[in-house]
Structure formats: C-alpha cells, structure tokens
C-alpha cells in the first residue's frame, strides 16, 4: 500500500482553549459545511457524542441520519481523535477508518492554536478505483479540481 501524506491544518483562533474545544465539538452543527453532507435531505444537525466510542453523525431535516464515524479519543479541552469513515466515494464504510486528530493548544487565555491532522488516507485505497472512475464525470473529482483551482487562485483561505 502506498502511503500518502496526511492533510495538516493549523490556525489561530481568538478564543480560550475551552471555548474552541466546545465550539468544535458541541457546536459542530453551527459550522460544519452543510454542502458536504452525505444526507439526501438538507442537513439540520451534525452531532458528536462527547465520549470515547460516541457516534459522529449528521441529521437531515427529514429526520434521517448518516454516520460519519465515531470518537476514538476524547481529552477535553486539549484534543480529540475522530474516526472518519467516509470513503473516497463519499459513503459511510464501517470497515474504513481514517483518523482526524485535533489539538487545541492554549497560547494565552484568549488565543488558541488549533492543529488538525487527517491521516491514514491510504486506507481509502480500496475505494480509490471507484474514485478514479469518477474523476472524469462532471460531478466527480474533475469538478472538485475546478472548485479547488478557483480556491487556489483566490489565494486559498485561512490566512
């Protein structure tokens, strides 16, 4: 299996460590991109049950739910590790476990460094053949590459 580099993100937020952790976990519904839901109806909630083994799932306006993964490690307000179980085809796959670790480091009372690492992406390899077939479809990676390119050309993001 070919290993690929984890996705890593870092940002500074003007908030306490405890508040940053709470918003990330308890208030996930308020910021999780609704456009990226795998639900068939519009996303109403994104829920993270606050304990090891807790489920991570989305709830649609019609009451349907879709699991994203579960809580592997829970260490408030310092860190958490989530299992991301969405395949490259953007479907829940209980056999697939990629890890998302998020660390909250207090720089001061009201400044927190947030570091995110999404790793073991090579485990998505099983689904990669399907993804590769989707690359050239209008709604597949080609379209994603287009939106990605637009984002890149704008200078992309968080800074």
């Amino acid at each position: 299996m070919i290993a690929i580099a984890p996705v890593r993100k870092k940002l500074l937020v003007h908030a306490s460590q405890a508040h940053a952790f709470a918003v990330f976990t308890r208030d996930m519904s308020k910021w999780w991109p609704a456009t990226h839901s795998i639900l068939k109806s519009p996303q109403k909630e994104c829920v993270l049950e606050p304990r090891i083994g807790g489920r991570w799932y989305a709830v649609g306006e019609d009451g349907s739910t879709c699991q994203t993964g579960y809580v592997i490690d829970w260490n408030p307000p310092h860190s958490l590790v989530l299992a991301w179980q969405l395949s490259a085809a953007w479907e829940f796959d209980p056999k697939l476990i990629t890890e998302v670790e998020v660390r909250f480091i207090a720089e001061s009372a009201d400044l927190t460094r947030v570091e995110l690492e999404h790793r073991h992406l090579e485990r998505m390899g099983e689904a990669a053949a399907a993804a590769r077939n989707a690359v050239d479809s209008p709604r597949g990676w080609g379209a994603i590459m287009d939106s990605f390119k637009q984002c890149a050309e704008k200078g992309g993001g968080l800074s």
Binding site: K10, S16, A22, W31, H118, F148, G156, L158
Partner: protein, 103 residues
C-alpha cells in the same frame, strides 16, 4: 504555511498543466518539457513543488528519473480533503470568534 502547500502547488497554471500531463502516465522531465512551453529547469522546479505538496512521486528508471501521480488515485482525494478542511476550519474559526468569551 503547510496547509497551503497543496493549494499553492496547483494554483499555478503551468504546474496544473504538468500535473494534468502526468495523468497520461509516468514521465521524465525531458518528455514533459517537450510537451509544454517551458524549459526543462522550469519543469523540474514545478515537479519539485508538486512533489513537496505530496501530489506526485518519482522513481529512478535507468539513468532517468520519472514522475507520476499516485497510481491509486489518492492524490485527488488528498487534495479534496485538504480543501474540505480548509472550508470547514474557516467556518469553525468564524463561529468560535463570533462568540469568543461567551462560553
């Protein structure tokens, strides 16, 4: 910053073309340069950036070095997730800072 590496790597139109050319299969710097309106050293530099961003790999092929996109098609997935987290964390940051101190 590290998170911008992949974004910047494909933000350049020539680099995007180098990456697209590699979709046809592993190729040497010389062969890529022959297809593109840029010099070999320029192609080498673009490949170095793409490699650093984790989008392409390289290997020895006799006396040459050939470059390739991850054959399992995982590079686009990684790019996609990179962009996804960019969007998600920007929204997270806005939410955290809108209510800072209100917890």
């Amino acid at each position: 910053m590290a998170y911008q590496t992949a974004l910047i790597a494909l933000g350049d139109p020539t680099r995007q073309r180098v990456f697209e050319e590699l979709r046809a299969g592993p190729q040497s710097v010389g062969r890529l340069a022959a297809k593109l309106p840029v010099s070999r050293p320029a192609v080498s530099q673009h490949l170095a950036v793409l490699k650093k961003a984790g989008l392409v790999g390289d290997r020895a092929d006799g006396t040459r070095r050939v470059y390739f996109i991850d054959p399992q098609g995982l590079a686009p997935i990684r790019i996609w997730l990179d962009q996804f987290w960019e969007v998600a964390l920007t929204a997270f940051q806005a939410e955290v800072e809108s209510k800072a101190g209100a917890s």
